[in-house]
């Protein structure tokens, strides 16, 4: 089962608000991702039938948009702005700190599946540069100290 019965009712309700099923494909993939963390092959096959799109067409949309995850991600997703204002304000340095702290490279997930670290274009938070989003929460201006506090908070929340 890709979705349980309650989720399916929500999904179908959302779909009925759209002009046609195909227009809903990004929202449909996000619906699954919001609940499962990512969109697996089984979900893609189910969606392609549900939305009356060929699997390859749906895949072409999934892989076009950078925030549709076709691979598993960690419990916490860190999206670090790599655009120009944040670069000027030292995003490379805070990125180096994050790399040391997590022990992974950009684009990777920690072995314990707790953190995935990705880059994202300009977050529209240039007044808070350098900035990142952690679990959809905007954080900045980043310093090594603030990054430590944020990661500590994630780890504490997980252990409690």
């Amino acid at each position: 089962m890709v979705l349980n019965s309650v989720e399916l009712a929500l999904f179908d309700h959302g779909l009925s608000q759209e002009q046609n099923p195909r227009s809903a494909c990004v929202a449909a993939m996000k619906f699954i991702q919001d609940r499962r963390g990512w969109v697996n092959d089984e979900a893609m096959e189910w969606l392609s039938e549900k939305l009356n799109m060929s699997l390859s067409e749906l895949e072409s949309v999934a892989t076009f948009y950078s925030l549709i995850f076709r691979k598993p991600v960690g419990k916490h997703v860190i999206l670090m702005c790599d655009s120009v204002s944040c670069w000027i304000m030292g995003s490379e340095s805070v990125g180096d700190h994050l790399r040391r702290r997590l022990g992974i490279k950009l684009g990777q997930t920690t072995p314990d599946q707790q953190f995935t670290w990705l880059s994202i274009p300009c977050l529209g938070a240039c007044d808070l540069a350098p900035a990142m989003m952690v679990d959809e929460i905007l954080c900045g201006p980043l310093t090594h100290e603030l990054i430590d506090k944020i990661l500590d908070a994630c780890e504490e929340a997980d252990s409690s």
Binding site: Q17, Q19, R22, S23, A24, C25, V26, A27, M29, K30, L51, M53, S60, V61, F64, Y65, S66, L67, I68, L79, D82, S83, V84, S85, W87, I88, M89, I120, P121, C122, L123, G124, A125, C126, D127, A129, M133, E136, L138
Partner: protein, 426 residues
């Protein structure tokens, strides 16, 4: 309310946005009432034309004129779409986020007025995923506005219908281009298409559609309420209205400031953004996001409006400036931006798909000490071959604007990278 800062007067920084009652108490939705009860769509159009409002998304197209390209209804009962472009992803740009988070009802009222003017029956706000707070606030405001009769069938008993949706995108700069945005709304990859036909004639689902920037739409309630001549009088030059200016980089107070359009650049940077941080000197700046050409300290006394910035060789763009200081490598800065453009190219046309990665790699080589004689000529050739007329949309030509101007203004820095075999700033 005739504030000198109409767009931001109803915004409380770091606080919840105005709720419906608070927005109405400040005169909110009065302009919509006036429009629905007293004005025809073409009268709204004429008033906005007379106000001199030009699009705030980058291109500066006159708003009233855009609506006039939509064919008259003449018994055509098919759908027509007004799409608010909230996919703010131009690097260095963070003004529409403020408007969407800060006063969602103001945006909704703007959407309603624009939809009425172009006789649309569907309104969309296309919003990027990263603007989560803006999305949640906008969705909440729309629910409340619907309950109050401002959205849906027979708005305020006027006979005007407007269905309304917020679409959350999944992240891609290309979605900001209007034909790509419409394709994306239909569930496709955000590839652009050739124009004509232009969206006002053939747009979403093949129907007349107008795509407009968030800041542009937020101006409409104020123009209707206070009049075209009031709006024209707000500007300090021949351009009309106020503008949300932004400053980022190593200034003391980076942020967004609503000021009369045509405010001198120096005043924006020194008085509002607090000037450069201690020990740093301004070396250059991009006036309106990453896809505008660099300007220099000698341009600081220019009024920040469409005409003056263009005459200096750049564009007002989004009006959000990115400052290059004297301790930051201009080659590294351009490399960062070309990485962005290469990554965000949709791949639809060859010059952009193949050319931008080449540019990025060449700049990367300069930065890491692998620059060779002849590299600058290769970069210059790209500035021509990825320029206007060679590509489907404006992404690659936009990407060449900072590069071409940096090669002209900061030539010695590029040459030093090759000569010294390393980046002098690292």
């Amino acid at each position: 309310m005739t504030a000198a800062t109409p767009l931001t007067a109803g915004i409380r920084p770091n606080d919840e946005p105005l709720n419906l009652a608070e927005y109405e108490a400040l005169g909110g939705y009065q302009a919509l009432r006036t429009v629905l009860r007293e004005m025809t769509p073409s009268e709204v159009n004429e008033k906005v034309k007379a106000s001199g409002l030009r699009g705030r998304g980058g291109a500066g197209f006159p708003t009233g004129m855009k609506w006039s390209f939509v064919p008259k209804r003449n018994g055509d009962s098919g759908h027509r779409y007004l799409v608010a472009n909230g996919d703010e992803m131009e690097p260095g740009t963070f003004k529409d986020r403020l408007l969407m988070e800060g006063n969602p009802h103001q945006l909704l009222e703007g959407v309603l007025i624009a939809a009425y003017a172009m006789e649309a029956d569907y309104g969309y706000v296309f919003i990027r995923w990263a603007y989560r707070d803006a999305f949640l606030r906008l969705r909440r405001a729309a629910e409340v506005a619907r309950e109050a009769g401002y959205i849906g069938r027979d708005v305020l008993g006027s006979g005007f219908d407007l269905e309304f949706h917020v679409h959350v995108s999944a992240g891609r700069y290309m979605c900001g281009e209007e034909t790509a945005l419409l394709t994306s709304l239909q569930g496709g990859r955000a590839n652009p298409r050739a124009k004509p036909p232009f969206p006002p004639a053939v747009g979403l689902y093949g129907r007349p559609s107008v795509v407009q920037n968030i800041e542009t739409l937020c101006n409409l309630p104020h123009i209707i309420r206070n009049g075209a001549s009031w709006y024209r009088g707000l500007g300090r030059t021949e351009d009309a209205g106020t503008k949300l200016y932004g400053v980022s980089g190593k200034v003391r107070n980076p942020g967004i400031y609503e000021l009369p359009i045509g405010t001198p650049i120096r005043e924006i940077i020194e008085e509002h953004a607090g000037g450069m941080r201690e020990g740093l000197t301004l070396r250059g700046f991009l006036p309106g996001g990453a896809s505008t050409r660099f300007l220099l300290p000698e341009h600081l006394d220019l009024p920040m409006d469409f005409g003056h910035v263009e005459k200096a060789g750049s564009r007002l763009g989004t009006g959000t400036m990115i400052i290059l200081d004297d301790q930051t490598c201009p080659v590294g800065m351009v490399h960062n931006m070309e990485h962005f453009f290469a990554q965000e190219s949709c791949g639809w046309c060859t010059p952009c798909r193949e050319g931008l990665p080449w540019v990025e790699k060449t700049l990367g080589a300069l930065e890491s000490g692998g620059g060779r004689n002849g590299d600058l000529e290769v970069l210059e050739r790209h500035c021509t071959m990825l320029g206007p007329g060679y590509t489907f949309c404006a992404l690659a030509p936009g990407a060449m604007e900072p590069l071409g101007s940096a090669l002209g203004y900061f030539r010695e820095d590029f040459e030093a990278h090759i000569k010294n075999g390393k980046c002098p700033w690292r």
